[in-house]
Amino acid sequence: MRLHQHEFHALGGPCGLSFHAEDDAAARVSAAVEAEVRRVERKYSRYRDDSVVAAINASAGQADGVLVDAETAALLDVAATLHEQSDGRFDATSGVLREVWDFRSGRLPEPAAVTALLPRIGWSLLRRRRLADGGEQLWLPRPGMALDFGGFGKEYAADRAAAVLRAEGIRHGLVELGGDISVVGPHPDGSPWRIGIRHPRDPARAIAAIDVARGGLATSGDYERCLIVDGRRYGHILDARTGWPVADGPASLSVTAPSCLLAGAVCTLGLLQGARALDWLADCPQPWLAVDAGLGLHGALARAEVA
């Protein structure tokens, strides 16, 4: 048994898996995991017109709504919880803000253009009816409303990919999808995987290292996409209630949890708290690491700082 690695590009970024297996199994395992990631991507991509997300969005304003399966319904439950727990800061219907927020343009949107989009955002406007097969009928009542699975879809894909690793009999391995990590189990000698956390102001350096033996690790930061206008940083974390980026939050937040989905949820909602993020995280039972704007480290994982 030795360490195998497989890299591919999906979900808009680099993906990789590392696992310990016999040589003759490695190719089969890699193909199965990659296939699962591509299945989730195809199903929930907002860029494909044959995806479930496209079908949902095409139904906006239609009287019959749309039927979705049990897997999608389970993800909608996740979105509903994130909306409720963030008091509306997170909203799976806020993707329409991308129509005005272009983080590559170097320009801020017109405030009036942002405000004009707000009526099309509103998770609480959705109507959902459970069906006996675990799926549901879903209505997006206003034309132009759109749903996407950003904020938890990639984390979900990482957990699904790890489940495939496990189903293939792998006990020691991890999946990384663009910074979101789901770990099946530690190295064969029991030692954890050491994962470097990117320095928020220097992509080539790690600011900390976190040991993970099992479960998920998610990291999110203001560096992923941002605009700097007149010396002020506008991160890609948008408050769905206002349509504007959250100010004065941590530069980056990393969380470990039993699953990547849970870790990512804490990350996303933590960053959405802005200046209140550290208070919001204070009673978090899962270990976390926040890097503040002054590059100070906070949280139980801060002790893992790299020299």
């Binding site: 897997e71 389970a74 993800l75 439950d77 996740v78 509903a80 919880t81 994130l82 409720e84 727990q85 963030s86 008091d87 459970r130 006996a132 097969d133 675990g134 979900y156 957990d159 699904r160 790890a162 489940a163 496990r166 189903a167 789901s182 033996a213 099992r214 479960g215 998920g216 949890a257 039993p258 699953s259 990547c260 989905l261 849970l262 949820a265 804490v266 909602l269 933590g270 208070d279 919001w280 995280l281 204070a282 009673d283 978090c284 039972p285 899962q286 270990p287 976390w288 139980a300």
Partner: protein, 392 residues
């Protein structure tokens, strides 16, 4: 203010439904030390007129749990207990005719070792099944136990049905059984039994849950206590504790759980009604407040209990009953009890440290109705434990 611990609590069911049980499977090891200590028998209830020490148990438990693939896990419990002290032997009338307790003269000192193994299979949103096998041994006692439990969840996850069965087979070879010192004590005996239960859990609202469980237990064989006697006043002599060789009981439990607005804080009320064919009827009511899901978790509970006596029970007998049955065991007497427990735990990364205290006091004053002749052996006890566990 909403917080991260609230998010994790609220999201856990949806995350589990979405990603399946695979991510929940973590191995863990746990060590638990507990001490159970019965209060002294007060002088006023002791036949000797002097307070007498009672029973205590020191217990060490080690538990390991290991996931096996995505949907199975195995658990192993090893328990080592040291019991010592004296226990109630028989009850006799004092000069005023009031029942007073005679304690066993010799101090008991015994060791119990037990091993329990469990296998759990998870069908994700559909349900779980659990198989258990246990063996326990003392110098004078050995017991085999087997159990099978299942839970079926309804399609929308708001209703689930649970059912289970268990079976046990015990052999006892009492110390000094049949010896010249204790000629009436049985040399060797056995008992067997089984239980069945079925229940339903209904989620009423995201914050309210109701659970109803019906259970039955039957036992047969030697159900008497080989170390206890009963006193016959007519002949001023004792006879061996003697109970029917069959006992069938049933119980109905209802539980209501309400999650409060503070994340992780829940109020739980339980009521249980018990009845058996020895004539015992019992009521248990418990009120508990639990806090879970953050760095600190704790639980505080209060319990009230009341039971009526077994038909053949008496503190002592004027003459031997026609059916030959006789028992003065306080556990078959009419009484009530109050108990309180406090548990607290703290997570430290992959570690969890826990501790708890419990107090219990049985008294005729807490029983429903009045008790004419309270059993002098009614027990009060306190216990405490320290626990540490680690997930890996």
């Amino acid at each position: 203010m909403k917080t991260a611990s609230g998010l994790l609590l609220a999201l856990a069911p949806a995350a589990l439904a979405a990603t399946g049980p695979a991510q929940a499977g973590e191995g863990s090891v746990e060590y638990l030390y507990s001490n159970y200590h019965e209060d002294d028998l007060p002088a006023s209830r002791s036949a000797s007129g002097k307070a007498a020490g009672r029973y205590q148990v020191d217990s060490h438990m080690f538990r390991a749990q290991q996931p096996l693939g995505a949907s199975d896990d195995l658990s192993l419990d090893l328990t080592h207990e040291r019991m010592s002290g004296a226990s109630p032997w028989y009850v006799m009338p004092d000069a005023q005719g009031r029942p007073v307790q005679v304690m066993s003269g010799a101090s008991i000192s015994d060791i119990r070792n037990a091993i329990d193994a469990g296998w759990r299979h998870d069908w994700g949103r559909r349900g779980t099944a659990k198989l258990g096998l246990g063996y326990s041994q003392e110098e004078d006692y050995r017991s085999w136990q087997f159990s099978l439990e299942g839970e079926l969840k309804a399609w929308d996850g708001t209703q689930s049905v649970t059912a289970g069965m268990s079976w046990f087979d015990d052999r006892l070879e009492p110390t000094d059984g049949g010896s010249p010192l204790y000629p009436g004590r049985v040399i060797e005996a056995g008992k067997q039994g089984g239980s069945l239960y079925a229940g339903v859990i209904q989620v009423l609202t995201p914050r309210d849950q109701f659970r109803l469980t019906l259970s039955t237990l039957w036992q047969q064989g030697f159900l008497s206590d080989p170390y206890k006697l009963a006193y016959i006043t007519g002949s001023a002599s004792t006879v061996a504790d003697s109970r029917p060789d069959r006992r069938v009981s049933g119980a109905l439990s209802a539980q209501y759980r309400h999650s409060l607005a503070t994340p992780g804080l829940a109020l739980q009320a339980d009521y249980r009604y018990f009845q058996d064919d020895w004539g015992v009827q019992a009521h248990t009511a418990t009120l508990a407040l639990n806090r879970s899901g953050s760095l600190w978790d704790w639980s505080a509970s209060l319990r009230w209990y009341s039971q009526s006596q077994a038909d053949f029970y008496a503190p002592f007998y004027a003459s031997l009953r026609g059916d030959g049955l006789a028992s003065s065991d306080y556990r078959l007497s009419p009484y009530g009890a109050l108990g309180a427990n406090l548990d607290i735990g703290r997570r430290l990364g992959a570690w969890r440290l826990g501790a708890g205290l419990g107090v219990y006091r049985a008294s005729e004053d807490y029983a429903l109705g009045s008790v004419a002749l309270p059993n002098p052996g009614l027990v009060s006890w306190r216990n405490g434990y320290l626990q540490m566990s680690r997930q890996y």
